[in-house]
Symmetry: C2
Subunit: 327 residues, 2 copies
Protein backbone atom coordinates (compact mmCIF):
# COMPACT_ATOMS: atom_id res chain seq x y z
CA UNK A 1 0.00 0.00 0.00
CA UNK A 2 1.37 3.43 -0.84
CA UNK A 3 2.14 5.93 1.89
CA UNK A 4 -0.24 8.55 0.50
CA UNK A 5 -3.40 8.52 -1.58
CA UNK A 6 -1.93 11.36 -3.51
CA UNK A 7 0.95 13.79 -3.44
CA UNK A 8 0.40 17.30 -4.72
CA UNK A 9 3.56 19.11 -5.77
CA UNK A 10 3.21 22.87 -5.92
CA UNK A 11 6.08 24.12 -8.08
CA UNK A 12 7.44 21.27 -10.19
CA UNK A 13 11.01 22.49 -10.63
CA UNK A 14 14.26 20.63 -10.06
CA UNK A 15 13.34 19.53 -6.53
CA UNK A 16 9.57 19.21 -7.07
CA UNK A 17 10.11 17.28 -10.27
CA UNK A 18 12.67 15.01 -8.63
CA UNK A 19 10.25 14.32 -5.77
CA UNK A 20 7.62 13.35 -8.35
CA UNK A 21 10.00 11.02 -10.18
CA UNK A 22 11.24 9.43 -6.96
CA UNK A 23 7.73 9.13 -5.48
CA UNK A 24 6.45 7.43 -8.65
CA UNK A 25 9.49 5.16 -8.85
CA UNK A 26 9.13 4.13 -5.22
CA UNK A 27 5.32 3.97 -5.38
CA UNK A 28 4.77 6.35 -2.49
CA UNK A 29 1.37 7.54 -3.77
CA UNK A 30 -1.48 6.40 -6.00
CA UNK A 31 -1.36 9.71 -7.81
CA UNK A 32 1.04 12.61 -8.10
CA UNK A 33 -0.44 15.97 -9.06
CA UNK A 34 1.75 18.82 -10.27
CA UNK A 35 0.67 22.44 -9.99
CA UNK A 36 2.63 25.21 -11.65
CA UNK A 37 2.47 28.34 -13.73
CA UNK A 38 4.74 27.31 -16.59
CA UNK A 39 2.76 24.99 -18.90
CA UNK A 40 5.82 23.90 -20.87
CA UNK A 41 7.59 22.91 -17.66
CA UNK A 42 4.50 21.01 -16.45
CA UNK A 43 4.31 19.14 -19.74
CA UNK A 44 7.99 18.23 -19.39
CA UNK A 45 7.29 16.97 -15.86
CA UNK A 46 4.35 14.90 -17.05
CA UNK A 47 6.15 13.59 -20.13
CA UNK A 48 9.04 12.53 -17.93
CA UNK A 49 6.68 10.70 -15.58
CA UNK A 50 7.27 12.98 -12.59
CA UNK A 51 3.54 13.69 -12.24
CA UNK A 52 0.34 11.96 -13.33
CA UNK A 53 -1.69 15.12 -13.62
CA UNK A 54 -0.59 18.63 -14.43
CA UNK A 55 -2.52 21.82 -13.94
CA UNK A 56 -1.97 25.55 -13.84
CA UNK A 57 -5.20 25.92 -11.86
CA UNK A 58 -4.04 25.99 -8.25
CA UNK A 59 -7.45 25.52 -6.59
CA UNK A 60 -8.49 22.63 -8.80
CA UNK A 61 -5.13 20.97 -8.43
CA UNK A 62 -5.36 21.13 -4.65
CA UNK A 63 -9.06 20.41 -4.32
CA UNK A 64 -10.37 18.20 -7.01
CA UNK A 65 -7.50 16.77 -8.94
CA UNK A 66 -9.24 18.49 -11.81
CA UNK A 67 -6.95 19.42 -14.67
CA UNK A 68 -7.61 20.92 -18.09
CA UNK A 69 -8.77 18.23 -20.50
CA UNK A 70 -5.96 19.15 -22.87
CA UNK A 71 -3.32 18.16 -20.34
CA UNK A 72 -4.87 14.82 -19.41
CA UNK A 73 -3.35 11.65 -20.70
CA UNK A 74 -5.72 8.71 -21.36
CA UNK A 75 -4.66 6.84 -18.25
CA UNK A 76 -5.63 9.79 -16.09
CA UNK A 77 -9.32 8.89 -16.28
CA UNK A 78 -8.74 5.97 -13.94
CA UNK A 79 -7.80 8.27 -11.09
CA UNK A 80 -10.19 8.48 -8.24
CA UNK A 81 -11.22 11.63 -6.45
CA UNK A 82 -10.63 11.77 -2.76
CA UNK A 83 -12.79 14.68 -1.73
CA UNK A 84 -15.80 14.29 0.55
CA UNK A 85 -14.46 11.21 2.33
CA UNK A 86 -14.44 11.02 6.09
CA UNK A 87 -11.16 11.76 7.89
CA UNK A 88 -9.56 8.51 8.90
CA UNK A 89 -11.14 6.45 6.16
CA UNK A 90 -8.56 7.45 3.64
CA UNK A 91 -4.83 7.47 3.29
CA UNK A 92 -3.27 10.80 4.11
CA UNK A 93 -2.43 13.22 1.37
CA UNK A 94 0.82 15.12 1.12
CA UNK A 95 1.25 18.57 -0.34
CA UNK A 96 4.87 19.49 -1.09
CA UNK A 97 5.55 23.17 -1.67
CA UNK A 98 8.44 23.39 -4.12
CA UNK A 99 8.26 27.11 -4.84
CA UNK A 100 10.98 29.64 -4.01
CA UNK A 101 11.54 30.30 -0.31
CA UNK A 102 9.85 33.72 -0.45
CA UNK A 103 6.45 32.27 -1.34
CA UNK A 104 6.42 29.01 0.61
CA UNK A 105 4.58 30.36 3.66
CA UNK A 106 1.80 31.83 1.54
CA UNK A 107 1.54 28.68 -0.54
CA UNK A 108 1.09 26.58 2.61
CA UNK A 109 -1.84 28.79 3.67
CA UNK A 110 -3.30 28.95 0.18
CA UNK A 111 -3.11 25.18 -0.16
CA UNK A 112 -4.88 24.57 3.15
CA UNK A 113 -7.60 27.08 2.33
CA UNK A 114 -8.05 25.84 -1.24
CA UNK A 115 -9.07 22.40 0.00
CA UNK A 116 -12.46 23.86 0.84
CA UNK A 117 -12.78 27.57 0.47
CA UNK A 118 -16.43 27.57 1.63
CA UNK A 119 -15.39 25.73 4.72
CA UNK A 120 -12.94 28.38 5.80
CA UNK A 121 -13.27 30.93 7.30
CA UNK A 122 -16.30 29.55 9.06
CA UNK A 123 -17.89 32.73 10.26
CA UNK A 124 -21.38 31.25 10.44
CA UNK A 125 -20.36 29.35 13.54
CA UNK A 126 -20.72 25.96 11.82
CA UNK A 127 -18.81 22.96 13.11
CA UNK A 128 -15.24 23.25 11.88
CA UNK A 129 -13.83 20.48 14.02
CA UNK A 130 -14.25 17.74 11.46
CA UNK A 131 -11.68 17.96 8.72
CA UNK A 132 -12.71 16.55 5.39
CA UNK A 133 -9.28 15.35 4.45
CA UNK A 134 -6.11 14.22 6.14
CA UNK A 135 -3.48 16.53 4.67
CA UNK A 136 0.13 16.94 5.68
CA UNK A 137 1.95 19.85 4.08
CA UNK A 138 5.71 20.16 3.78
CA UNK A 139 8.20 22.11 1.70
CA UNK A 140 11.74 21.85 0.37
CA UNK A 141 13.02 25.34 1.19
CA UNK A 142 16.65 25.95 2.13
CA UNK A 143 15.59 28.26 4.96
CA UNK A 144 13.28 27.13 7.73
CA UNK A 145 12.86 29.59 10.61
CA UNK A 146 11.00 32.35 8.73
CA UNK A 147 8.68 29.77 7.17
CA UNK A 148 8.05 27.56 10.19
CA UNK A 149 7.64 30.41 12.70
CA UNK A 150 4.38 31.35 10.99
CA UNK A 151 2.84 27.98 11.88
CA UNK A 152 4.59 27.39 15.20
CA UNK A 153 3.59 28.08 18.79
CA UNK A 154 0.29 28.14 20.63
CA UNK A 155 -0.53 31.63 19.34
CA UNK A 156 -0.28 30.64 15.69
CA UNK A 157 -3.55 30.35 13.83
CA UNK A 158 -4.05 26.66 13.00
CA UNK A 159 -4.25 25.65 9.35
CA UNK A 160 -7.84 25.01 8.20
CA UNK A 161 -9.36 21.88 6.67
CA UNK A 162 -7.41 19.37 8.69
CA UNK A 163 -4.02 20.46 7.37
CA UNK A 164 -0.77 20.34 9.31
CA UNK A 165 2.61 21.74 8.27
CA UNK A 166 6.10 20.43 9.01
CA UNK A 167 9.11 21.97 7.28
CA UNK A 168 11.56 19.87 5.29
CA UNK A 169 14.84 20.59 3.56
CA UNK A 170 16.44 17.86 1.47
CA UNK A 171 20.16 18.60 1.24
CA UNK A 172 20.32 17.78 -2.45
CA UNK A 173 20.22 19.67 -5.69
CA UNK A 174 22.26 20.99 -8.55
CA UNK A 175 22.86 24.43 -10.02
CA UNK A 176 20.32 23.60 -12.74
CA UNK A 177 16.60 24.20 -12.49
CA UNK A 178 13.31 23.05 -14.00
CA UNK A 179 11.61 19.68 -14.38
CA UNK A 180 13.86 18.87 -17.34
CA UNK A 181 16.79 18.52 -14.93
CA UNK A 182 14.87 16.53 -12.30
CA UNK A 183 16.15 13.09 -11.43
CA UNK A 184 14.59 10.11 -9.65
CA UNK A 185 17.72 9.49 -7.60
CA UNK A 186 18.42 13.06 -6.50
CA UNK A 187 17.56 12.20 -2.90
CA UNK A 188 19.21 8.81 -2.74
CA UNK A 189 21.86 8.61 -0.02
CA UNK A 190 21.22 12.23 0.86
CA UNK A 191 20.08 13.78 4.09
CA UNK A 192 16.71 15.45 4.53
CA UNK A 193 16.34 17.74 7.52
CA UNK A 194 12.86 18.06 8.99
CA UNK A 195 12.04 20.84 11.43
CA UNK A 196 8.84 20.04 13.34
CA UNK A 197 7.53 22.81 15.59
CA UNK A 198 4.87 22.69 18.30
CA UNK A 199 2.01 21.99 18.07
CA UNK A 200 2.88 18.82 16.15
CA UNK A 201 1.39 15.35 15.93
CA UNK A 202 3.86 12.58 16.54
CA UNK A 203 2.24 10.60 13.70
CA UNK A 204 2.96 13.39 11.24
CA UNK A 205 6.65 13.36 12.11
CA UNK A 206 6.69 9.62 11.49
CA UNK A 207 4.80 10.02 8.23
CA UNK A 208 7.17 12.70 6.94
CA UNK A 209 10.19 10.61 7.90
CA UNK A 210 8.76 7.63 6.02
CA UNK A 211 8.26 9.91 3.03
CA UNK A 212 11.91 11.00 2.90
CA UNK A 213 13.10 7.48 3.64
CA UNK A 214 10.92 6.36 0.76
CA UNK A 215 12.79 8.75 -1.55
CA UNK A 216 16.10 7.22 -0.45
CA UNK A 217 17.21 9.83 2.09
CA UNK A 218 18.14 9.57 5.72
CA UNK A 219 16.43 12.07 7.99
CA UNK A 220 17.69 14.45 10.67
CA UNK A 221 15.32 16.31 12.95
CA UNK A 222 16.20 19.73 14.41
CA UNK A 223 14.77 23.13 15.16
CA UNK A 224 14.33 25.59 12.26
CA UNK A 225 16.85 27.97 13.84
CA UNK A 226 19.47 25.27 14.25
CA UNK A 227 18.91 24.24 10.63
CA UNK A 228 19.35 27.81 9.42
CA UNK A 229 22.51 28.33 11.45
CA UNK A 230 24.13 25.19 10.04
CA UNK A 231 23.00 25.65 6.44
CA UNK A 232 24.23 29.26 6.44
CA UNK A 233 27.70 27.77 6.91
CA UNK A 234 27.47 24.65 4.73
CA UNK A 235 25.36 25.95 1.86
CA UNK A 236 24.56 29.67 1.82
CA UNK A 237 28.12 30.84 2.53
CA UNK A 238 29.67 28.59 -0.16
CA UNK A 239 27.02 29.89 -2.53
CA UNK A 240 27.92 33.53 -1.86
CA UNK A 241 31.64 32.77 -2.07
CA UNK A 242 31.08 31.14 -5.47
CA UNK A 243 29.00 34.16 -6.49
CA UNK A 244 31.66 36.67 -5.41
CA UNK A 245 34.34 34.72 -7.33
CA UNK A 246 32.23 34.38 -10.48
CA UNK A 247 31.02 37.99 -10.38
CA UNK A 248 34.62 39.17 -10.12
CA UNK A 249 35.81 37.26 -13.18
CA UNK A 250 37.36 39.68 -15.67
CA UNK A 251 36.32 39.07 -19.30
CA UNK A 252 39.97 38.94 -20.37
CA UNK A 253 40.67 36.23 -17.78
CA UNK A 254 37.95 33.92 -19.08
CA UNK A 255 40.15 31.84 -21.43
CA UNK A 256 42.48 31.10 -18.51
CA UNK A 257 39.91 29.50 -16.23
CA UNK A 258 40.24 25.75 -15.80
CA UNK A 259 38.20 23.02 -14.17
CA UNK A 260 39.20 24.40 -10.76
CA UNK A 261 37.57 27.77 -11.33
CA UNK A 262 34.52 26.03 -12.78
CA UNK A 263 34.15 23.75 -9.80
CA UNK A 264 34.62 26.51 -7.23
CA UNK A 265 32.05 28.74 -8.95
CA UNK A 266 29.55 26.07 -10.06
CA UNK A 267 26.93 27.20 -7.53
CA UNK A 268 26.93 30.70 -9.02
CA UNK A 269 25.00 29.30 -12.02
CA UNK A 270 21.99 28.75 -9.74
CA UNK A 271 18.79 30.78 -10.30
CA UNK A 272 19.32 34.34 -8.95
CA UNK A 273 15.65 34.89 -7.97
CA UNK A 274 15.61 31.72 -5.91
CA UNK A 275 18.85 32.57 -4.16
CA UNK A 276 17.95 36.19 -3.56
CA UNK A 277 15.01 34.88 -1.48
CA UNK A 278 17.15 32.42 0.45
CA UNK A 279 19.75 35.07 1.26
CA UNK A 280 17.06 37.53 2.33
CA UNK A 281 15.28 34.99 4.54
CA UNK A 282 18.43 33.82 6.29
CA UNK A 283 20.44 37.05 6.28
CA UNK A 284 21.28 37.10 10.01
CA UNK A 285 22.80 33.62 10.03
CA UNK A 286 24.52 34.21 6.70
CA UNK A 287 26.07 37.42 8.01
CA UNK A 288 27.58 35.48 10.92
CA UNK A 289 28.97 32.93 8.48
CA UNK A 290 30.39 35.58 6.12
CA UNK A 291 32.08 37.45 8.96
CA UNK A 292 33.63 34.21 10.18
CA UNK A 293 34.85 33.45 6.66
CA UNK A 294 36.22 36.97 6.18
CA UNK A 295 38.24 36.39 9.33
CA UNK A 296 39.70 33.14 7.95
CA UNK A 297 40.58 34.79 4.67
CA UNK A 298 42.21 37.76 6.38
CA UNK A 299 44.28 35.41 8.52
CA UNK A 300 45.42 33.56 5.41
CA UNK A 301 46.24 36.85 3.66
CA UNK A 302 48.32 38.02 6.62
CA UNK A 303 50.30 34.78 6.55
CA UNK A 304 51.05 35.47 2.89
CA UNK A 305 52.11 39.03 3.68
CA UNK A 306 54.44 37.75 6.37
CA UNK A 307 55.77 34.89 4.26
CA UNK A 308 54.57 32.43 6.92
CA UNK A 309 54.83 29.36 4.72
CA UNK A 310 54.50 26.87 7.56
CA UNK A 311 51.30 28.56 8.72
CA UNK A 312 49.90 28.35 5.20
CA UNK A 313 50.93 24.73 4.87
CA UNK A 314 49.14 23.94 8.15
CA UNK A 315 45.90 25.47 6.80
CA UNK A 316 46.31 23.63 3.49
CA UNK A 317 46.65 20.39 5.45
CA UNK A 318 43.62 21.06 7.65
CA UNK A 319 41.57 21.92 4.57
CA UNK A 320 42.65 18.74 2.79
CA UNK A 321 41.88 16.60 5.83
CA UNK A 322 38.40 18.12 6.13
CA UNK A 323 37.71 17.87 2.42
CA UNK A 324 38.99 14.29 2.11
CA UNK A 325 36.57 13.23 4.84
CA UNK A 326 33.65 14.35 2.66
CA UNK A 327 34.56 12.22 -0.34
CA UNK B 1 57.66 11.03 -38.06
CA UNK B 2 57.37 11.85 -34.37
CA UNK B 3 58.07 15.35 -33.11
CA UNK B 4 60.85 14.22 -30.76
CA UNK B 5 63.30 11.36 -30.65
CA UNK B 6 62.46 11.08 -26.98
CA UNK B 7 60.65 12.86 -24.24
CA UNK B 8 62.06 12.70 -20.73
CA UNK B 9 59.54 13.41 -17.99
CA UNK B 10 61.08 14.41 -14.68
CA UNK B 11 58.41 13.84 -12.04
CA UNK B 12 55.76 11.47 -13.38
CA UNK B 13 52.77 12.66 -11.33
CA UNK B 14 49.28 13.60 -12.46
CA UNK B 15 50.52 16.06 -15.11
CA UNK B 16 53.76 14.26 -16.01
CA UNK B 17 51.93 10.94 -16.28
CA UNK B 18 49.19 12.48 -18.40
CA UNK B 19 51.80 13.99 -20.72
CA UNK B 20 53.33 10.54 -21.10
CA UNK B 21 49.98 8.91 -21.86
CA UNK B 22 48.99 11.63 -24.33
CA UNK B 23 52.43 11.71 -25.99
CA UNK B 24 52.38 7.93 -26.47
CA UNK B 25 48.79 7.99 -27.72
CA UNK B 26 49.55 10.73 -30.20
CA UNK B 27 52.97 9.28 -31.13
CA UNK B 28 54.88 12.47 -30.34
CA UNK B 29 58.11 10.62 -29.52
CA UNK B 30 59.87 7.35 -30.24
CA UNK B 31 60.48 6.87 -26.56
CA UNK B 32 59.18 8.38 -23.33
CA UNK B 33 61.46 8.14 -20.29
CA UNK B 34 60.14 8.73 -16.80
CA UNK B 35 62.40 9.86 -13.96
CA UNK B 36 61.17 9.95 -10.38
CA UNK B 37 61.93 9.11 -6.78
CA UNK B 38 58.87 6.97 -6.01
CA UNK B 39 59.43 3.53 -7.53
CA UNK B 40 55.84 2.42 -7.00
CA UNK B 41 54.56 5.48 -8.81
CA UNK B 42 57.02 4.93 -11.67
CA UNK B 43 55.87 1.32 -12.00
CA UNK B 44 52.28 2.52 -12.14
CA UNK B 45 53.23 4.99 -14.86
CA UNK B 46 55.00 2.31 -16.87
CA UNK B 47 52.26 -0.27 -16.35
CA UNK B 48 49.70 2.25 -17.53
CA UNK B 49 51.78 2.95 -20.66
CA UNK B 50 52.63 6.54 -19.75
CA UNK B 51 56.37 5.87 -20.10
CA UNK B 52 58.50 3.29 -21.89
CA UNK B 53 61.37 3.43 -19.43
CA UNK B 54 61.38 4.24 -15.77
CA UNK B 55 64.29 5.13 -13.59
CA UNK B 56 65.04 6.65 -10.23
CA UNK B 57 68.56 7.47 -11.44
CA UNK B 58 68.29 11.06 -12.61
CA UNK B 59 71.61 11.24 -14.48
CA UNK B 60 71.16 8.00 -16.34
CA UNK B 61 67.58 8.88 -17.22
CA UNK B 62 68.65 12.19 -18.70
CA UNK B 63 71.88 11.04 -20.29
CA UNK B 64 71.80 7.51 -21.45
CA UNK B 65 68.30 6.25 -21.31
CA UNK B 66 69.86 3.71 -19.02
CA UNK B 67 67.47 2.24 -16.47
CA UNK B 68 67.88 -0.42 -13.83
CA UNK B 69 67.57 -3.85 -15.40
CA UNK B 70 64.79 -4.71 -13.00
CA UNK B 71 62.57 -1.98 -14.38
CA UNK B 72 63.06 -2.85 -18.03
CA UNK B 73 60.32 -4.56 -19.97
CA UNK B 74 61.40 -6.93 -22.80
CA UNK B 75 60.45 -4.45 -25.52
CA UNK B 76 62.81 -1.87 -24.07
CA UNK B 77 65.86 -3.53 -25.61
CA UNK B 78 64.84 -2.24 -29.03
CA UNK B 79 65.32 1.36 -27.96
CA UNK B 80 68.18 3.23 -29.55
CA UNK B 81 70.55 5.52 -27.75
CA UNK B 82 70.79 9.05 -28.99
CA UNK B 83 74.00 10.24 -27.41
CA UNK B 84 77.08 11.14 -29.42
CA UNK B 85 75.19 12.15 -32.55
CA UNK B 86 75.85 15.46 -34.25
CA UNK B 87 73.45 18.29 -33.55
CA UNK B 88 71.04 18.62 -36.48
CA UNK B 89 71.26 15.00 -37.51
CA UNK B 90 68.75 13.89 -34.99
CA UNK B 91 65.26 14.82 -33.93
CA UNK B 92 65.13 17.17 -30.96
CA UNK B 93 64.59 15.82 -27.50
CA UNK B 94 62.19 17.29 -24.98
CA UNK B 95 62.63 17.28 -21.24
CA UNK B 96 59.47 18.09 -19.31
CA UNK B 97 59.94 19.04 -15.66
CA UNK B 98 56.82 17.88 -13.81
CA UNK B 99 58.09 18.41 -10.27
CA UNK B 100 56.59 20.88 -7.76
CA UNK B 101 57.09 24.54 -8.57
CA UNK B 102 59.74 24.99 -5.88
CA UNK B 103 62.21 22.63 -7.55
CA UNK B 104 61.56 23.27 -11.24
CA UNK B 105 64.36 25.82 -11.73
CA UNK B 106 66.95 23.54 -10.17
CA UNK B 107 65.70 20.56 -12.16
CA UNK B 108 66.08 22.50 -15.41
CA UNK B 109 69.74 23.21 -14.56
CA UNK B 110 70.38 19.71 -13.31
CA UNK B 111 68.88 18.23 -16.46
CA UNK B 112 71.01 20.38 -18.75
CA UNK B 113 74.15 19.61 -16.79
CA UNK B 114 73.42 15.89 -16.54
CA UNK B 115 73.48 15.52 -20.32
CA UNK B 116 77.22 15.66 -20.12
CA UNK B 117 78.69 16.43 -16.74
CA UNK B 118 82.27 16.29 -18.06
CA UNK B 119 81.39 18.77 -20.73
CA UNK B 120 80.20 21.40 -18.26
CA UNK B 121 81.68 23.45 -16.75
CA UNK B 122 84.41 23.60 -19.36
CA UNK B 123 87.22 25.13 -17.39
CA UNK B 124 89.96 23.74 -19.61
CA UNK B 125 88.98 26.21 -22.29
CA UNK B 126 87.89 23.46 -24.71
CA UNK B 127 85.39 24.19 -27.43
CA UNK B 128 81.94 24.26 -25.86
CA UNK B 129 80.15 25.73 -28.86
CA UNK B 130 79.12 22.43 -30.34
CA UNK B 131 76.26 20.87 -28.44
CA UNK B 132 76.01 17.14 -28.57
CA UNK B 133 72.25 17.04 -28.45
CA UNK B 134 69.32 19.21 -29.42
CA UNK B 135 67.38 19.51 -26.21
CA UNK B 136 64.40 21.72 -25.42
CA UNK B 137 63.37 21.85 -21.77
CA UNK B 138 59.97 22.91 -20.53
CA UNK B 139 57.88 22.54 -17.39
CA UNK B 140 54.25 22.43 -16.28
CA UNK B 141 54.41 24.70 -13.23
CA UNK B 142 51.47 26.93 -12.28
CA UNK B 143 53.83 29.85 -11.63
CA UNK B 144 56.18 31.16 -14.29
CA UNK B 145 58.00 34.40 -13.40
CA UNK B 146 60.20 33.03 -10.61
CA UNK B 147 61.15 30.05 -12.76
CA UNK B 148 61.65 31.79 -16.09
CA UNK B 149 63.51 34.83 -14.72
CA UNK B 150 66.45 32.56 -13.93
CA UNK B 151 66.92 31.73 -17.62
CA UNK B 152 65.85 35.06 -19.10
CA UNK B 153 67.77 38.13 -20.21
CA UNK B 154 71.20 38.66 -21.65
CA UNK B 155 72.84 38.42 -18.22
CA UNK B 156 71.48 34.97 -17.53
CA UNK B 157 73.99 32.16 -17.75
CA UNK B 158 73.04 30.04 -20.78
CA UNK B 159 72.12 26.42 -20.22
CA UNK B 160 74.95 24.03 -21.13
CA UNK B 161 74.97 21.16 -23.59
CA UNK B 162 72.75 22.73 -26.23
CA UNK B 163 69.75 23.03 -23.95
CA UNK B 164 67.12 25.78 -24.10
CA UNK B 165 64.28 26.41 -21.68
CA UNK B 166 60.80 27.76 -22.35
CA UNK B 167 58.19 27.70 -19.60
CA UNK B 168 54.81 26.06 -20.08
CA UNK B 169 51.66 25.83 -18.01
CA UNK B 170 48.86 23.60 -19.20
CA UNK B 171 45.63 24.85 -17.60
CA UNK B 172 44.42 21.37 -16.78
CA UNK B 173 44.46 19.09 -13.80
CA UNK B 174 42.40 17.63 -11.01
CA UNK B 175 42.66 17.70 -7.24
CA UNK B 176 44.15 14.20 -7.39
CA UNK B 177 47.80 13.39 -7.79
CA UNK B 178 50.14 10.64 -8.91
CA UNK B 179 50.49 8.61 -12.11
CA UNK B 180 47.52 6.45 -11.10
CA UNK B 181 45.23 9.41 -11.75
CA UNK B 182 46.88 10.46 -15.01
CA UNK B 183 44.76 10.49 -18.13
CA UNK B 184 45.57 10.59 -21.86
CA UNK B 185 42.91 13.21 -22.56
CA UNK B 186 43.71 15.60 -19.70
CA UNK B 187 44.99 18.21 -22.14
CA UNK B 188 42.36 17.79 -24.83
CA UNK B 189 40.47 20.98 -25.55
CA UNK B 190 42.44 22.76 -22.84
CA UNK B 191 44.70 25.75 -23.06
CA UNK B 192 48.45 25.60 -22.53
CA UNK B 193 50.19 28.88 -21.80
CA UNK B 194 53.81 29.15 -22.93
CA UNK B 195 56.01 31.96 -21.66
CA UNK B 196 59.10 32.35 -23.88
CA UNK B 197 61.71 34.82 -22.65
CA UNK B 198 64.66 36.32 -24.47
CA UNK B 199 67.01 34.95 -25.63
CA UNK B 200 64.77 32.49 -27.44
CA UNK B 201 64.93 30.67 -30.78
CA UNK B 202 61.88 31.10 -32.93
CA UNK B 203 62.07 27.42 -33.87
CA UNK B 204 61.83 26.40 -30.22
CA UNK B 205 58.61 28.34 -29.75
CA UNK B 206 57.17 26.58 -32.80
CA UNK B 207 58.35 23.21 -31.53
CA UNK B 208 56.80 23.73 -28.09
CA UNK B 209 53.54 24.87 -29.66
CA UNK B 210 53.45 21.75 -31.83
CA UNK B 211 54.04 19.68 -28.69
CA UNK B 212 51.01 21.12 -26.86
CA UNK B 213 48.91 20.99 -30.00
CA UNK B 214 49.92 17.36 -30.30
CA UNK B 215 48.51 16.72 -26.83
CA UNK B 216 45.19 18.27 -27.88
CA UNK B 217 45.59 21.74 -26.38
CA UNK B 218 45.42 25.17 -27.89
CA UNK B 219 48.33 27.44 -26.98
CA UNK B 220 48.54 31.02 -25.71
CA UNK B 221 51.83 32.90 -25.54
CA UNK B 222 52.45 35.60 -22.94
CA UNK B 223 55.07 36.93 -20.56
CA UNK B 224 55.68 35.04 -17.30
CA UNK B 225 54.48 38.04 -15.27
CA UNK B 226 51.27 38.36 -17.24
CA UNK B 227 50.68 34.63 -16.78
CA UNK B 228 51.21 34.87 -13.04
CA UNK B 229 48.90 37.88 -12.69
CA UNK B 230 46.06 36.13 -14.53
CA UNK B 231 46.50 32.73 -12.90
CA UNK B 232 46.55 34.30 -9.45
CA UNK B 233 42.96 35.36 -10.16
CA UNK B 234 41.68 32.33 -12.08
CA UNK B 235 43.44 29.52 -10.22
CA UNK B 236 45.39 30.46 -7.10
CA UNK B 237 42.66 32.64 -5.56
CA UNK B 238 39.89 30.02 -6.11
CA UNK B 239 42.26 27.49 -4.56
CA UNK B 240 42.78 29.58 -1.42
CA UNK B 241 39.05 30.35 -1.19
CA UNK B 242 38.28 26.62 -1.35
CA UNK B 243 40.96 26.04 1.27
CA UNK B 244 39.58 28.69 3.64
CA UNK B 245 36.06 27.23 3.29
CA UNK B 246 37.19 23.64 3.84
CA UNK B 247 39.52 24.52 6.71
CA UNK B 248 36.64 26.31 8.44
CA UNK B 249 34.25 23.36 8.26
CA UNK B 250 33.08 22.48 11.77
CA UNK B 251 33.02 18.72 12.50
CA UNK B 252 29.37 18.95 13.62
CA UNK B 253 28.41 20.57 10.30
CA UNK B 254 29.87 17.77 8.21
CA UNK B 255 26.65 15.74 7.80
CA UNK B 256 24.91 18.82 6.46
CA UNK B 257 27.25 19.46 3.55
CA UNK B 258 25.82 18.73 0.12
CA UNK B 259 27.17 18.58 -3.41
CA UNK B 260 27.45 22.38 -3.38
CA UNK B 261 29.92 22.46 -0.51
CA UNK B 262 31.84 19.59 -2.12
CA UNK B 263 32.10 21.36 -5.44
CA UNK B 264 33.12 24.69 -3.94
CA UNK B 265 35.85 23.07 -1.82
CA UNK B 266 37.02 20.40 -4.29
CA UNK B 267 40.35 22.14 -4.90
CA UNK B 268 41.18 21.97 -1.20
CA UNK B 269 41.84 18.24 -1.62
CA UNK B 270 44.93 19.06 -3.71
CA UNK B 271 48.42 18.22 -2.39
CA UNK B 272 49.41 20.77 0.31
CA UNK B 273 53.15 20.61 -0.43
CA UNK B 274 52.62 21.36 -4.08
CA UNK B 275 50.27 24.26 -3.34
CA UNK B 276 52.43 25.67 -0.60
CA UNK B 277 55.15 26.15 -3.25
CA UNK B 278 52.79 27.75 -5.74
CA UNK B 279 51.46 30.19 -3.15
CA UNK B 280 54.97 31.05 -2.03
CA UNK B 281 56.25 31.60 -5.58
CA UNK B 282 53.34 33.80 -6.63
CA UNK B 283 52.56 35.50 -3.34
CA UNK B 284 52.63 39.11 -4.62
CA UNK B 285 50.09 38.48 -7.37
CA UNK B 286 47.98 36.28 -5.09
CA UNK B 287 47.91 39.01 -2.45
CA UNK B 288 46.50 41.43 -5.03
CA UNK B 289 43.85 38.88 -5.97
CA UNK B 290 42.91 38.13 -2.34
CA UNK B 291 42.59 41.82 -1.49
CA UNK B 292 40.37 42.34 -4.51
CA UNK B 293 38.21 39.37 -3.47
CA UNK B 294 38.03 40.57 0.14
CA UNK B 295 36.67 43.83 -1.24
CA UNK B 296 33.96 42.02 -3.22
CA UNK B 297 32.98 39.94 -0.22
CA UNK B 298 32.83 42.97 2.06
CA UNK B 299 30.62 44.78 -0.45
CA UNK B 300 28.29 41.77 -0.55
CA UNK B 301 28.22 41.60 3.25
CA UNK B 302 27.35 45.28 3.52
CA UNK B 303 24.45 44.79 1.12
CA UNK B 304 23.18 42.04 3.38
CA UNK B 305 23.57 44.26 6.44
CA UNK B 306 21.59 46.99 4.71
CA UNK B 307 18.96 44.63 3.34
CA UNK B 308 19.85 45.75 -0.19
CA UNK B 309 18.14 42.86 -1.97
CA UNK B 310 18.23 44.45 -5.41
CA UNK B 311 21.97 44.98 -5.09
CA UNK B 312 22.42 41.34 -4.12
CA UNK B 313 20.21 40.19 -6.98
CA UNK B 314 22.32 42.23 -9.41
CA UNK B 315 25.49 40.48 -8.20
CA UNK B 316 23.78 37.07 -8.37
CA UNK B 317 22.84 37.84 -11.99
CA UNK B 318 26.34 39.02 -12.95
CA UNK B 319 27.82 35.91 -11.35
CA UNK B 320 25.39 33.63 -13.20
CA UNK B 321 26.04 35.36 -16.52
CA UNK B 322 29.81 35.00 -16.05
CA UNK B 323 29.54 31.40 -14.90
CA UNK B 324 27.13 30.35 -17.65
CA UNK B 325 29.60 31.61 -20.25
CA UNK B 326 32.18 29.11 -18.99
CA UNK B 327 30.01 26.03 -19.45
Amino acid sequence: MPLFSRIVIVGVGLLGGSIGLAAKKNKLADCVVGIGRDEANLRTARDRGAIDLATTDFERGIRELGVPESLLTPSDSSLSVFTNLEFGEILPELIVIGTPVGSIGDMVWESAIAIDRDYYPREDGGDSSLPLRNVLITDVGSVKETICARFAGLDAEPLPNGCRFIGSHPIAGTERSGAENASADLFENRLAVITPTEPVQYEDIGLLKRFWHGLGSSVAEMSPLEHDRILARTSHLPHLVAVALAAGLLPEDEPYTGTGFRSTTRLAAGPPALWSDIIDFNSAMILDAIREFEGSLTALRKMLEQGDQSGITAILKTAKRNRDRLS
